[in-house]
């Protein structure tokens, strides 16, 4: 397991606190995450059911279960990353390094890091309609940044690919500079997006 220090902004007072971004998560870690987040998930679900917020605007990861993803970490190509702060998992990400190759020219066919799953803890979700403003901000951003770093470490020059949930498409394009490619019928018609080596270099420069 590897550990590096990252900064998370606490929404309450805007203060940046130190958190640990852990790599090399094992199956049992995903089980712990699933268990840790399940109670809050139920709470949010109840609140949403009682609210007038239309379903399309509900957090699209509401029904996920990280325990189901645990076996995937046994494969060499899989890597699990998580951010721990105040002794709780604030966000978790699962990447794959041999399942996908780049579709974007001029690097078509070259390997990339594929983000299979990424989620921030339910208590960090910003859903003002039900009073959920979220404890920590930019958890998702920090994790995705780590995926770009992983890609560099693998020799993939920062190339990253993912299928975006509809709510997040704008985020990947504007914050990371990812290029939307196609709606993938093999993946529930989600938009497949890629970060090229050039864009990755620009991103890492911008974020220094």
């Amino acid at each position: 397991m590897s550990s590096e220090v990252v900064q998370l902004q606490r929404r309450l007072d805007g203060v940046f606190v130190e958190a640990a971004l852990l790599g090399g998560m094992v199956p049992n870690d995903f089980v712990l995450v699933g268990n840790e987040w399940s109670a809050e998930r139920s709470v949010v679900m109840q609140e949403l059911l009682q609210s007038t917020l239309p379903r399309q605007q509900w957090p699209q990861s509401l029904h996920w279960d990280w325990r189901r993803k645990a076996p995937e970490l046994r494969l060499l190509e899989a890597a699990g990353f998580g951010i721990v702060c105040e002794r709780q998992w604030q966000g978790v990400m699962l990447t794959k390094s041999a399942s996908y190759v780049a579709k974007l020219a001029p690097d078509k066919g070259k390997p990339l890091v594929y983000v299979d799953f990424l989620e921030v803890a339910p208590w960090n979700w910003a859903i003002p309609e039900v009073g959920g403003s979220g404890r920590f901000r930019s958890v998702g951003s920090s994790l995705l940044w780590r995926a770009v770093e992983q890609s560099e470490e693998e020799g993939f020059r920062g190339r990253v690919g993912l299928h975006s949930l509809p709510q997040s498409e704008v985020f990947y394009e504007r914050v990371f500079g990812m290029t939307p490619l196609n709606r993938d019928s093999a993946k529930q018609n989600l938009l497949y997006m890629e970060l090229s080596a050039d864009q990755a270099a620009k991103l890492l420069e911008k974020g220094k």
Binding site: L75, L76, S97, G109, P111, E154, F156, R157
Partner: protein
Amino acid sequence: MAAKRTMTLNLTDAEMGALEELSEKKELSKTAILRQALRLYQMVDARIERGDKFFFEDETKAKAEVMVL
């Protein structure tokens, strides 16, 4: 990074050639190419064991199953 162990590989000229060609094409070191190959092999094997089937599809949409042990 986890502790690493060293292995020596004896490759034929053809194998080394293929390795170098892939290395250049994918812009990866030869070691990285072999790592990717191992990851890919393990992943495919795991899915086949699960009962999934591995196919190639050509431009005419004709599917041909890839037999991998």
